[in-house]
């Protein structure tokens, strides 16, 4: 079980800001989690349609797609940042 957070237009497309999910054991990386989430519904498919526009943080640290997610408590997905 892990908490997944969505920000900006990913949140709008998916329709929730956060949720608890329990992916199967073969989902071991950020990229695999994206593939698994994408199958949850059309909102998810739309949010993750352009993977190069999606960034991730695992336990509040920026994470590359190949980052392992074993033991992670909080995973966030968001667009490239635009602050400053």
């Amino acid at each position: 079980m892990m908490r997944v957070l969505y920000f900006a237009w990913l949140r709008e497309k998916i329709g929730v800001a956060e949720e608890d999910v329990a992916p199967p054991p073969e989902v071991t990386s950020v990229a695999a989690l994206i593939d698994w989430l994408r199958a949850r519904g059309p909102g998810y498919a739309a949010a993750f349609a352009q993977q190069k526009l999606v960034r991730c943080a695992v336990d509040q640290e920026f994470a590359a797609p190949d980052m392992a997610i074993a033991g992670a408590a909080e995973i966030a997905f968001f667009p490239p940042v635009t602050g400053g």
Binding site: A8, A57, A76, P79, V81, T82, G83, G84
Partner: protein, 146 residues
Amino acid sequence: MLRIAVQEADFDAGAELVRLNLPGVGGVGSFIGVVRDSGGIKALHLEHYPSMTEKAVKRIAEQAAARWPLLGCTVIHRVGRLVPGENIVFVGASSAHRDAALQASAFLIDWLKTSAPFWKREEFVSGASAWVAAREADDTAAKNWE
């Protein structure tokens, strides 16, 4: 020496500059980002990732402090709804000499734009709204410090 704040409230840039004028300082550098009044923009909405933001901003400030001999370093980033002309962000750095203060200030704002979890949404006079897309030029500016 490091001062980090993420807040809805405005900041007093003058007071922040005074705060950076610490013993031994020979120069204070700073940058203030404001909401630009262009393209029919009614307001800018700043969203962030609360549990990650301060940590990410602190890391950027620590990198600046490791790279230049800073005596003071301040980053204040506002969130929420901001109208044209309002302040968005303050970065400031003070040091014995101007080069470190100016370069650290530029580094801070370049890295904030690409490495801290903030997102801007534009609210237009027409009632429409759109998320701001990341700019390649910002990535290039940040990479130039590597």
